[in-house]
Symmetry: C2
Protein backbone atom coordinates (compact mmCIF):
# COMPACT_ATOMS: atom_id res chain seq x y z
CA UNK A 1 0.00 0.00 0.00
CA UNK A 2 1.29 3.47 -0.81
CA UNK A 3 2.44 5.88 1.87
CA UNK A 4 -0.26 8.54 2.16
CA UNK A 5 -0.17 11.69 4.26
CA UNK A 6 -3.34 13.76 4.64
CA UNK A 7 -3.31 17.30 6.03
CA UNK A 8 -6.27 19.10 7.57
CA UNK A 9 -5.42 22.68 8.43
CA UNK A 10 -6.76 25.86 9.99
CA UNK A 11 -6.78 28.80 7.59
CA UNK A 12 -3.49 30.72 7.90
CA UNK A 13 -1.72 28.01 9.89
CA UNK A 14 0.77 27.12 7.15
CA UNK A 15 -0.65 23.65 6.49
CA UNK A 16 -0.38 24.03 2.73
CA UNK A 17 3.27 25.09 2.86
CA UNK A 18 4.02 22.28 5.29
CA UNK A 19 2.42 19.82 2.87
CA UNK A 20 4.44 21.12 -0.08
CA UNK A 21 7.71 20.97 1.83
CA UNK A 22 6.86 17.52 3.12
CA UNK A 23 6.13 16.21 -0.39
CA UNK A 24 9.38 17.74 -1.71
CA UNK A 25 11.28 16.30 1.22
CA UNK A 26 9.90 12.79 0.66
CA UNK A 27 9.97 13.05 -3.14
CA UNK A 28 6.27 12.15 -3.43
CA UNK A 29 3.27 13.65 -5.24
CA UNK A 30 1.47 16.64 -3.77
CA UNK A 31 -2.25 17.24 -4.29
CA UNK A 32 -4.25 20.28 -3.31
CA UNK A 33 -5.97 22.28 -6.06
CA UNK A 34 -5.06 19.46 -8.44
CA UNK A 35 -8.11 17.66 -7.05
CA UNK A 36 -10.37 20.47 -8.29
CA UNK A 37 -8.66 20.57 -11.69
CA UNK A 38 -9.30 16.85 -12.09
CA UNK A 39 -12.97 17.12 -11.07
CA UNK A 40 -13.43 19.95 -13.59
CA UNK A 41 -11.88 17.81 -16.30
CA UNK A 42 -14.17 14.88 -15.53
CA UNK A 43 -17.46 16.73 -15.00
CA UNK A 44 -17.21 19.54 -17.57
CA UNK A 45 -18.42 21.91 -14.84
CA UNK A 46 -16.77 25.31 -14.52
CA UNK A 47 -13.78 25.57 -12.20
CA UNK A 48 -15.43 28.44 -10.32
CA UNK A 49 -18.51 26.35 -9.66
CA UNK A 50 -16.61 23.29 -8.46
CA UNK A 51 -14.43 25.45 -6.28
CA UNK A 52 -17.49 27.10 -4.76
CA UNK A 53 -18.95 23.70 -3.87
CA UNK A 54 -15.72 22.11 -2.67
CA UNK A 55 -14.16 25.02 -0.81
CA UNK A 56 -17.09 26.99 0.46
CA UNK A 57 -19.82 26.54 2.94
CA UNK A 58 -22.59 24.19 1.92
CA UNK A 59 -26.01 25.80 1.78
CA UNK A 60 -26.79 26.50 5.43
CA UNK A 61 -30.44 25.66 4.89
CA UNK A 62 -29.53 21.98 4.64
CA UNK A 63 -29.40 19.85 7.77
CA UNK A 64 -25.95 19.22 9.09
CA UNK A 65 -26.08 15.46 8.70
CA UNK A 66 -27.02 13.89 5.43
CA UNK A 67 -30.69 13.15 5.90
CA UNK A 68 -32.87 11.00 3.76
CA UNK A 69 -35.81 13.38 3.86
CA UNK A 70 -37.93 13.62 0.73
CA UNK A 71 -37.38 17.33 -0.10
CA UNK A 72 -33.62 16.99 0.31
CA UNK A 73 -33.35 14.11 -2.13
CA UNK A 74 -35.22 16.07 -4.75
CA UNK A 75 -33.15 19.22 -4.36
CA UNK A 76 -31.05 19.61 -7.53
CA UNK A 77 -28.33 21.74 -5.87
CA UNK A 78 -27.81 19.18 -3.14
CA UNK A 79 -27.76 16.36 -5.69
CA UNK A 80 -25.13 18.25 -7.69
CA UNK A 81 -23.04 18.83 -4.56
CA UNK A 82 -23.24 15.15 -3.71
CA UNK A 83 -22.24 14.12 -7.19
CA UNK A 84 -19.24 16.48 -7.06
CA UNK A 85 -18.28 14.93 -3.71
CA UNK A 86 -18.55 11.44 -5.25
CA UNK A 87 -16.27 12.56 -8.07
CA UNK A 88 -13.87 14.04 -5.54
CA UNK A 89 -13.84 10.71 -3.71
CA UNK A 90 -12.97 8.86 -6.94
CA UNK A 91 -10.22 11.34 -7.81
CA UNK A 92 -8.64 11.13 -4.34
CA UNK A 93 -8.77 7.33 -4.19
CA UNK A 94 -7.15 7.11 -7.64
CA UNK A 95 -4.42 9.55 -6.58
CA UNK A 96 -3.73 7.52 -3.44
CA UNK A 97 -3.58 4.27 -5.39
CA UNK A 98 -1.23 5.67 -8.04
CA UNK A 99 1.74 6.51 -5.78
CA UNK A 100 2.91 7.80 -2.41
CA UNK A 101 1.47 11.28 -1.88
CA UNK A 102 0.54 14.21 0.36
CA UNK A 103 -3.08 15.41 0.04
CA UNK A 104 -4.17 18.70 1.60
CA UNK A 105 -7.77 19.15 2.78
CA UNK A 106 -10.87 17.84 0.98
CA UNK A 107 -11.80 15.23 3.64
CA UNK A 108 -8.99 13.00 2.31
CA UNK A 109 -8.30 11.63 5.82
CA UNK A 110 -11.83 10.20 5.87
CA UNK A 111 -12.08 9.24 2.20
CA UNK A 112 -8.83 7.26 2.46
CA UNK A 113 -9.38 5.66 5.86
CA UNK A 114 -9.01 2.15 4.40
CA UNK A 115 -5.58 3.19 3.11
CA UNK A 116 -4.41 4.02 6.67
CA UNK A 117 -2.91 7.43 5.92
CA UNK A 118 -0.81 9.40 8.39
CA UNK A 119 -3.44 12.00 9.29
CA UNK A 120 -2.08 15.42 10.25
CA UNK A 121 -3.96 18.46 11.48
CA UNK A 122 -2.11 21.79 11.41
CA UNK A 123 -3.15 24.73 13.59
CA UNK A 124 -1.72 27.91 15.13
CA UNK A 125 -2.48 30.76 17.47
CA UNK A 126 -4.62 33.55 15.97
CA UNK A 127 -1.79 36.08 16.24
CA UNK A 128 0.41 33.82 14.13
CA UNK A 129 -2.36 33.18 11.60
CA UNK A 130 -3.03 36.91 11.21
CA UNK A 131 0.64 37.56 10.54
CA UNK A 132 0.91 34.70 8.10
CA UNK A 133 -2.28 35.58 6.20
CA UNK A 134 -1.22 39.22 5.97
CA UNK A 135 2.15 38.23 4.55
CA UNK A 136 0.50 36.25 1.77
CA UNK A 137 -2.31 38.72 1.02
CA UNK A 138 -2.46 40.61 -2.27
CA UNK A 139 -2.43 44.41 -2.13
CA UNK A 140 -6.21 44.56 -2.71
CA UNK A 141 -6.79 42.50 0.39
CA UNK A 142 -5.58 45.00 2.97
CA UNK A 143 -7.98 44.25 5.79
CA UNK A 144 -7.57 45.47 9.35
CA UNK A 145 -6.96 42.93 12.11
CA UNK A 146 -10.63 42.62 13.02
CA UNK A 147 -11.72 42.08 9.40
CA UNK A 148 -8.91 39.61 8.79
CA UNK A 149 -9.72 37.64 11.94
CA UNK A 150 -13.35 37.44 10.81
CA UNK A 151 -12.24 36.15 7.39
CA UNK A 152 -10.00 33.53 9.03
CA UNK A 153 -12.76 32.33 11.34
CA UNK A 154 -15.27 32.27 8.45
CA UNK A 155 -12.92 30.07 6.41
CA UNK A 156 -12.50 27.70 9.35
CA UNK A 157 -16.25 27.57 9.84
CA UNK A 158 -16.76 26.67 6.17
CA UNK A 159 -14.19 23.89 6.38
CA UNK A 160 -15.72 22.56 9.60
CA UNK A 161 -19.21 22.56 8.13
CA UNK A 162 -18.11 20.87 4.90
CA UNK A 163 -16.17 18.21 6.82
CA UNK A 164 -19.05 17.53 9.19
CA UNK A 165 -21.55 17.29 6.36
CA UNK A 166 -19.61 14.67 4.40
CA UNK A 167 -17.80 12.70 7.11
CA UNK A 168 -20.15 13.03 10.09
CA UNK A 169 -17.10 13.91 12.21
CA UNK A 170 -15.74 17.09 13.79
CA UNK A 171 -13.08 18.93 11.81
CA UNK A 172 -9.98 19.66 13.90
CA UNK A 173 -11.00 17.38 16.79
CA UNK A 174 -7.73 15.68 17.68
CA UNK A 175 -9.31 12.21 17.93
CA UNK A 176 -9.75 12.24 14.13
CA UNK A 177 -6.00 12.67 13.47
CA UNK A 178 -2.74 10.90 14.31
CA UNK A 179 -0.81 14.07 14.92
CA UNK A 180 -1.83 17.68 15.54
CA UNK A 181 0.87 20.27 14.95
CA UNK A 182 0.89 23.79 16.32
CA UNK A 183 2.99 25.91 13.93
CA UNK A 184 3.16 29.00 16.17
CA UNK A 185 6.53 28.30 17.79
CA UNK A 186 8.50 26.49 15.11
CA UNK A 187 9.71 27.02 11.54
CA UNK A 188 7.76 25.09 8.91
CA UNK A 189 10.99 23.87 7.36
CA UNK A 190 12.04 22.27 10.68
CA UNK A 191 8.60 20.75 11.12
CA UNK A 192 8.56 19.37 7.55
CA UNK A 193 11.96 17.68 7.97
CA UNK A 194 10.76 16.16 11.15
CA UNK A 195 7.38 14.90 9.94
CA UNK A 196 9.14 13.41 6.91
CA UNK A 197 11.25 11.36 9.30
CA UNK A 198 8.18 10.08 11.14
CA UNK A 199 6.38 9.30 7.90
CA UNK A 200 9.23 6.97 6.91
CA UNK A 201 8.76 4.95 10.14
CA UNK A 202 4.94 5.05 10.10
Amino acid sequence: MNRIITIGRQFGSGGRELGLRLAQNLGVAYYDREVITEIVKRTQLSEAYVQQVVEHRPNPLYPITIGQSFPLLLDPTWEMNRSIYREQTNVIVEMAEKSDCVIVGRCADDILKEHHPLRLFVYAEMEHRLRRTRKHATSEEQLNDKQLQKKILDMDRNRAQYYRLYTGKEWGEKENYDLCLNTSQVELVTLADWVAQLAKDW
Copy 2:
Protein backbone atom coordinates in the same frame (compact mmCIF):
# COMPACT_ATOMS: atom_id res chain seq x y z
CA MET B 1 17.33 28.22 29.42
CA ASN B 2 16.97 24.47 29.97
CA ARG B 3 15.15 22.24 27.50
CA ILE B 4 11.84 21.33 29.10
CA ILE B 5 9.23 18.90 27.78
CA THR B 6 5.83 18.73 29.47
CA ILE B 7 3.39 15.90 28.83
CA GLY B 8 -0.36 16.02 29.41
CA ARG B 9 -1.99 12.65 28.77
CA GLN B 10 -5.29 10.84 28.66
CA PHE B 11 -5.47 7.94 31.12
CA GLY B 12 -4.28 4.75 29.43
CA SER B 13 -2.78 6.51 26.41
CA GLY B 14 0.82 5.62 27.25
CA GLY B 15 1.87 9.20 28.01
CA ARG B 16 3.85 8.18 31.06
CA GLU B 17 5.81 5.49 29.20
CA LEU B 18 6.43 7.90 26.33
CA GLY B 19 7.79 10.44 28.83
CA LEU B 20 10.11 7.88 30.43
CA ARG B 21 11.46 6.70 27.08
CA LEU B 22 11.88 10.27 25.92
CA ALA B 23 13.86 11.22 29.02
CA GLN B 24 16.06 8.12 28.65
CA ASN B 25 16.53 8.85 24.98
CA LEU B 26 17.59 12.47 25.62
CA GLY B 27 19.51 11.63 28.80
CA VAL B 28 17.55 14.16 30.86
CA ALA B 29 15.69 14.08 34.19
CA TYR B 30 12.19 12.62 34.37
CA TYR B 31 9.61 13.85 36.88
CA ASP B 32 6.22 12.38 37.56
CA ARG B 33 5.49 11.09 41.10
CA GLU B 34 8.77 12.70 42.16
CA VAL B 35 6.81 15.96 42.33
CA ILE B 36 4.53 14.48 45.00
CA THR B 37 7.46 13.03 46.97
CA GLU B 38 9.04 16.47 47.05
CA ILE B 39 5.83 18.21 48.17
CA VAL B 40 5.46 15.63 50.97
CA LYS B 41 9.01 16.29 52.08
CA ARG B 42 8.44 20.05 52.19
CA THR B 43 4.98 20.15 53.75
CA GLN B 44 5.13 17.25 56.20
CA LEU B 45 1.68 16.22 54.95
CA SER B 46 1.00 12.53 54.35
CA GLU B 47 1.73 11.20 50.87
CA ALA B 48 -1.82 9.81 50.61
CA TYR B 49 -3.29 13.23 51.35
CA VAL B 50 -1.11 15.11 48.88
CA GLN B 51 -1.81 12.50 46.23
CA GLN B 52 -5.54 12.82 46.83
CA VAL B 53 -5.35 16.58 46.33
CA VAL B 54 -2.97 16.52 43.38
CA GLU B 55 -4.31 13.54 41.45
CA HIS B 56 -7.99 13.45 42.23
CA ARG B 57 -10.94 15.57 41.53
CA PRO B 58 -11.16 18.82 43.46
CA ASN B 59 -14.24 19.16 45.62
CA PRO B 60 -17.05 19.52 43.07
CA LEU B 61 -18.85 21.99 45.29
CA TYR B 62 -16.27 24.62 44.42
CA PRO B 63 -16.82 26.85 41.42
CA ILE B 64 -14.83 25.88 38.38
CA THR B 65 -12.81 29.08 38.19
CA ILE B 66 -10.97 30.42 41.18
CA GLY B 67 -13.36 32.97 42.58
CA GLN B 68 -12.71 35.59 45.19
CA SER B 69 -15.95 35.00 47.02
CA PHE B 70 -15.90 35.36 50.79
CA PRO B 71 -16.95 31.83 51.80
CA LEU B 72 -14.40 30.25 49.44
CA LEU B 73 -11.50 32.18 50.88
CA LEU B 74 -12.39 31.05 54.38
CA ASP B 75 -12.74 27.40 53.48
CA PRO B 76 -9.81 25.55 55.11
CA THR B 77 -9.83 22.61 52.64
CA TRP B 78 -9.67 24.94 49.68
CA GLU B 79 -6.91 26.95 51.34
CA MET B 80 -4.97 23.74 51.93
CA ASN B 81 -5.44 22.68 48.30
CA ARG B 82 -4.22 26.05 47.13
CA SER B 83 -1.18 25.93 49.35
CA ILE B 84 -0.33 22.45 48.04
CA TYR B 85 -0.67 23.80 44.49
CA ARG B 86 1.66 26.69 45.36
CA GLU B 87 4.17 24.19 46.70
CA GLN B 88 3.78 22.11 43.53
CA THR B 89 4.48 25.24 41.50
CA ASN B 90 7.68 25.90 43.45
CA VAL B 91 8.82 22.30 43.11
CA ILE B 92 8.19 22.22 39.34
CA VAL B 93 9.89 25.57 38.69
CA GLU B 94 12.93 24.44 40.69
CA MET B 95 13.08 21.17 38.74
CA ALA B 96 12.88 23.06 35.43
CA GLU B 97 15.61 25.46 36.49
CA LYS B 98 17.94 22.71 37.67
CA SER B 99 18.41 20.88 34.34
CA ASP B 100 16.79 19.72 31.09
CA CYS B 101 13.83 17.51 31.96
CA VAL B 102 10.56 15.80 31.05
CA ILE B 103 7.64 16.48 33.41
CA VAL B 104 4.44 14.45 33.19
CA GLY B 105 1.10 15.98 34.20
CA ARG B 106 0.54 18.37 37.12
CA CYS B 107 -0.21 21.46 34.99
CA ALA B 108 3.52 21.79 34.27
CA ASP B 109 2.81 23.18 30.78
CA ASP B 110 1.04 26.13 32.36
CA ILE B 111 3.28 26.52 35.41
CA LEU B 112 6.35 26.67 33.18
CA LYS B 113 4.95 28.83 30.38
CA GLU B 114 7.69 31.43 30.87
CA HIS B 115 10.26 28.67 30.28
CA HIS B 116 8.78 27.92 26.81
CA PRO B 117 8.56 24.16 27.17
CA LEU B 118 7.74 21.81 24.31
CA ARG B 119 4.16 21.01 25.35
CA LEU B 120 2.92 17.56 24.37
CA PHE B 121 -0.53 16.04 24.81
CA VAL B 122 -0.83 12.27 24.40
CA TYR B 123 -4.13 10.57 23.57
CA ALA B 124 -5.49 7.38 22.02
CA GLU B 125 -8.65 5.66 20.90
CA MET B 126 -10.71 4.09 23.71
CA GLU B 127 -10.13 0.56 22.39
CA HIS B 128 -6.38 1.10 22.63
CA ARG B 129 -6.66 2.63 26.10
CA LEU B 130 -8.74 -0.30 27.37
CA ARG B 131 -6.15 -2.76 26.09
CA ARG B 132 -3.29 -0.81 27.55
CA THR B 133 -4.91 -0.29 30.95
CA ARG B 134 -5.85 -3.97 31.14
CA LYS B 135 -2.26 -5.00 30.40
CA HIS B 136 -0.98 -2.90 33.28
CA ALA B 137 -3.73 -3.78 35.78
CA THR B 138 -3.01 -5.86 38.88
CA SER B 139 -4.94 -9.11 39.28
CA GLU B 140 -7.32 -7.51 41.81
CA GLU B 141 -8.36 -4.97 39.24
CA GLN B 142 -10.11 -7.27 36.81
CA LEU B 143 -12.91 -5.02 35.62
CA ASN B 144 -15.09 -5.72 32.62
CA ASP B 145 -14.87 -3.40 29.61
CA LYS B 146 -17.75 -1.22 30.74
CA GLN B 147 -16.34 -0.77 34.26
CA LEU B 148 -12.86 -0.12 32.91
CA GLN B 149 -14.12 2.45 30.40
CA LYS B 150 -15.96 4.22 33.23
CA LYS B 151 -12.74 4.26 35.30
CA ILE B 152 -10.76 5.69 32.36
CA LEU B 153 -13.31 8.43 31.69
CA ASP B 154 -13.50 9.25 35.43
CA MET B 155 -9.72 9.67 35.56
CA ASP B 156 -9.82 11.96 32.50
CA ARG B 157 -12.62 13.99 34.06
CA ASN B 158 -10.60 14.45 37.26
CA ARG B 159 -7.57 15.60 35.30
CA ALA B 160 -9.66 17.99 33.20
CA GLN B 161 -11.32 19.47 36.29
CA TYR B 162 -8.02 19.90 38.13
CA TYR B 163 -6.37 21.52 35.10
CA ARG B 164 -9.31 23.88 34.54
CA LEU B 165 -9.42 24.89 38.20
CA TYR B 166 -5.76 25.89 38.39
CA THR B 167 -4.98 27.09 34.87
CA GLY B 168 -8.35 28.41 33.67
CA LYS B 169 -7.78 26.49 30.41
CA GLU B 170 -9.23 23.34 28.87
CA TRP B 171 -7.26 20.15 29.40
CA GLY B 172 -6.55 18.32 26.13
CA GLU B 173 -7.67 21.21 23.91
CA LYS B 174 -5.04 21.21 21.17
CA GLU B 175 -4.59 25.00 21.28
CA ASN B 176 -2.91 24.62 24.69
CA TYR B 177 -0.16 22.33 23.33
CA ASP B 178 2.53 22.37 20.65
CA LEU B 179 2.01 18.79 19.59
CA CYS B 180 -0.80 16.29 20.16
CA LEU B 181 0.13 12.65 19.62
CA ASN B 182 -2.31 9.82 19.02
CA THR B 183 -0.62 6.62 20.23
CA SER B 184 -3.20 4.21 18.75
CA GLN B 185 -1.37 3.37 15.52
CA VAL B 186 2.30 3.58 16.44
CA GLU B 187 4.77 1.99 18.87
CA LEU B 188 5.75 4.21 21.80
CA VAL B 189 9.41 3.43 21.22
CA THR B 190 9.17 4.80 17.65
CA LEU B 191 7.28 7.83 18.84
CA ALA B 192 9.81 8.52 21.62
CA ASP B 193 12.75 8.37 19.19
CA TRP B 194 10.92 10.70 16.94
CA VAL B 195 9.85 13.27 19.56
CA ALA B 196 13.42 13.26 20.94
CA GLN B 197 14.57 14.36 17.49
CA LEU B 198 12.13 17.26 17.40
CA ALA B 199 12.99 18.30 20.96
CA LYS B 200 16.62 18.76 19.91
CA ASP B 201 15.57 21.24 17.21
CA TRP B 202 12.92 23.01 19.30
